[in-house]
Amino acid sequence: MPSRTSKTPTSKPRSPNPEKAAPTVQESMQESLPENMTGQLKSSQVLQLQRLIGNKAVGRLMKDRTVQRESHGKGCNCANCSSVQRTVDTRRVADIRRVDKQEADVQTTRIQRGFLDDVMVFFGVKTAEEVRQEGLAPLDKTKWNKTVADDSLMKDIAGKISVKDFIEASQAVKPLLKTLLDLAFKYWSSISLSDLEPVLNAATSDEKTAVCSDEKLLTKAEGALGKDPYLTFITRIGMNQPPTTTELGEGGKEHTAPAKADEIIRDKMSAYVTEAVKKGRKIEGQVGIVAGADWDRAGVAHYGDQVWHRATPTPKKNAINGFVDGSGRVWVERNSGNPGTVIHEGLHKYSDGAVLSTLGFNTNEGMTEYFTRLICADLGITRGNYTNNHDLITALVTTVTTKEVIASSYFDGKVDDLKAAFIKYRKDTKGNTEELAGQIWDAFVSNMKSGAWAKASKCINDDLDSDKLAAL
């Protein structure tokens, strides 16, 4: 992609299409060229000149006359150069006024084309915002529509300004996200996701949905962004494909939308997720509910092609409803799982992570499923996922400690409080010593890690001494 700082002024003729009522450049000059162009000119004056007499002319002017560059060269972006100073000889201006009719017409056309041109020609050092602040003609709908409908002009623009500047400039007319992305992916071959961030952040859910349903646009997006950024793009636009059934639009009988999952979690778990919410934890904008090629892209990127497609006995893609990848993106297959799947994955996002790192995968999934089912029971959703993990966490809640202690370990990382509650329970109700109670806790954690459910259950429920513990 061309760099903004490497641009050269343009005077290349465009396809002639001047508006009939527009004044000629000569007329414009008579009206607006300042009488005294001597001395040091500010950048806005230079631009005004450029707009009136054309790039070539200004280029000759700049080449022939004294230019106070000192240590700052063309393209310098430093604070001192925010108002580039140049000295211009009045006589030279008069000479330039004799610019020939053909170039004048071309420049008139160019001026009418809108301020995107201004951005392009301004020595490549001005952002659209800076140019706008200097009082140039703002982009309006008419100019925008003419510009984006002109393929050759768009190609020219794409060769001379960055997609980031183009997007920034476009915000003066706030085009729909789909329109803007169509243009960006059509005319710029390499785009960074950060270039798109402002418009992705500002887009409405309807605008994002329109993008999600345009397969051609998504194909272009993958080509322009690259594989991994494309996956992030998918989650940022909130891809949410409905299940393939004979009864579409069933309402509530499909995956829960991520924004809705956040709403439900924050409502139903309001007593427990205060700190998590303060830390900005959420699932919206991090989920792709996908199928087919996108499901495979995400799966292969995370698990590798062998595990995803060919692992024995079951390829990963056939055994999994959803997963969180190494970049924290959540992937859910549209025809798998149930309406609790996104809530389950969402709860992972709200969790602290200490349970996973200290107590292991099975206990972490058990707690996630415990809170998932608390929420899903209210919503009439039946789940069978991680049933034994869930049942053992339920046993902790009903027998050993409280929901609040489980919640603080899961959402806030206070795992030591859970351990303390377990040891107290064993001492108070089973008569174990502190030391033995600690050993039983360790055995519980270990058996949970290995999926030895019956043994883990005995650590909670059975009367155990050292011998019985050793025999487990």
Partner: protein
């Protein structure tokens, strides 16, 4: 739902119910109820002899059919000492039960838990 998609679900079911995932060997049998009687498009049964566990999985045309059928199956099987589990995975509905009132009850309960977890898929 097309036959192709039903077959896709059944193929997926084979992977989900593999012994490496269920942690117990399951014999394929007929489902307890004929699929058409429940409004399902297809059904598969599984059986474990020790512990004694019976499972049926049905494929429906949409997710909306699950709840009413699930409640009906649970009611039919409700009995003291019998542990009944239902779960969904996409358009598929799982129905399984086992006795948990004998000496091997706890093992049977956790075995059924492993089976339904395998069916439900990883998340």
């Amino acid at each position: 739902m097309s036959e192709e998609l039903v077959n896709k679900q059944l193929s997926r079911l084979n992977g989900l119910m593999h012994p490496d995932r269920t942690r117990i060997a399951l014999e394929k049998v007929d489902p307890e109820h004929a699929p058409e009687k429940l409004g399902a498009l297809a059904g598969v049964g599984y059986r474990s002899r020790n512990p004694d566990i019976q499972v049926s999985v049905y494929v429906f045309s949409s997710w909306s059919k699950h709840q009413s059928v699930s409640e009906k199956l649970k009611e039919e099987c409700a009995e003291d000492g019998v542990h009944v589990v239902t779960a969904t995975n996409g358009p598929m509905l799982f129905f399984g039960h086992t006795r948990i009132d004998g000496p091997g009850g706890i093992d049977a309960r956790f075995a059924l838990g492993d089976i339904v977890s395998a069916f439900s898929g990883d998340e």
